[in-house]
Subunit: 229 residues, 2 copies
């Protein structure tokens, strides 16, 4: 293999990982904005989010196509192949984050029609910020190749689970206290669950980054809260 | 490329798709049993499910490793590469079905401690059967390469959405009528949502099968109910 081909493969791979980084940025923004929709009852913002998610879907398809084409054309081996497969897998996780954020935006439209969620606004906002920051951290670790950053995100998923669990219990108590809050409360349960799922995707991405750079699997020893399913 | 190598690639690919089929069978059984846990309040069964999900996780990792190794060793082109990538993607979807079934099993443990869900048992059971049958159909289409079967699954996802929506509304009404049912009702909302998600994975698999065999994307024209987010 000559110098030229080697350089070109690197260039193509860099192009691919740059697209993944861009998808990551879009997902991060979508997640942050989806929480704003809920907290500020911002209907126009929610409507733009539902449209913006399509951009993520298309970019993910594009990344997968480019990755498969890169494999077919360059036939990368071992480490290089692992990097291309990782890009595809991370893109799939980010696309799911976009779907979950879109779902939060849709629920915010229902919530905007019912009573304000004031007692939970701060909790939801805090959980949203936490989840978005984990997504940002793991994307930074991916971009910089700093495995320690990925491990750090991975090992702190139980914090997000903790937020979810207390929100779950508080919401049920609230709903029991006033049956008129049941519809809004049910949608908020799903908003909280979606945020927890986005946290899980950040954890998945951390595992992919770890495997990409070390060739070894982050084990089953991740701290897991065994509370609300 | 000589005859021997060609045959060996086919053999390895067949081995890979057989593993995906096996994972599919395990996922199908897990989904069916998870619904039984809820409907029959079967605590011992739920406990075995939580353990059985690990088998799916491990098999998915194995399939992905084998697929990447196959690509590295054989460097398949165009169609063959697409078949290997499809196997990986279908496995990822099936693993998620297993996770969702495990989550249903965990919720059945909470439900077994609260009032029986008798009024919803039949609805949940019917929705579970519908979802499991879609999963079976799409796996059959994958195994036989009959694209029409995949398209058929894909085009009928709105039936599952319809089940989910009516169950969602009925559950909220039930919870409003008797606040003591709120905890159980909330978990049943998630059970229904998980089944709907498993249906979405069957639809994803249908899209992957279609792309694998035709090289074209099933468009955005899928019938979609725009009701409960």
């Amino acid at each position: 293999m000559n110098e030229h081909i080697v350089r070109s493969f690197e260039e193509e791979l860099n192009h691919l990982t740059a697209d993944v980084a861009r998808l990551g940025g879009l997902a991060e923004a979508l997640v942050g904005d989806s929480v704003t929709c809920v907290v500020r009852r911002d209907v126009p913002l929610a409507q733009t989010l539902i449209v913006r998610d399509k951009v993520l879907d298309d970019l993910e398809i594009e990344i997968e196509r480019a990755a498969v084409a890169l494999i077919a054309r360059r036939q990368p081996l071992a480490n290089d192949l692992r990097r291309v497969v990782s890009a595809m897998k991370i893109a799939a996780n980010l696309e799911r984050c976009g779907d979950l954020a879109k779902n939060i935006a849709k629920r915010s439209l229902v919530l905007a029609e019912s009573d304000p969620v004031t007692p939970f606004a701060r909790s939801i906002e805090r959980m949203g910020r936490l989840v978005a920051s984990r997504l940002k951290e793991v994307l930074d670790a991916y971009a910089s190749g700093e495995v320690a950053g990925a491990v750090s995100v991975w090992s702190r998923d139980d914090e997000i689970d903790g937020h979810y669990e207390s929100l779950f219990r508080e919401l049920l108590t609230y709903m029991m206290g006033d049956p008129r809050t049941i519809t809004g409360g049910a949608h908020l349960l799903f908003v909280a669950k979606n945020l927890e799922r986005i946290g899980d995707h950040a954890t998945n991405i951390a595992e992919i980054v770890h495997y990409e750079y070390t060739g070894t699997q982050l084990g089953d020893q991740r701290p897991k809260l065994e509370g609300v399913p």
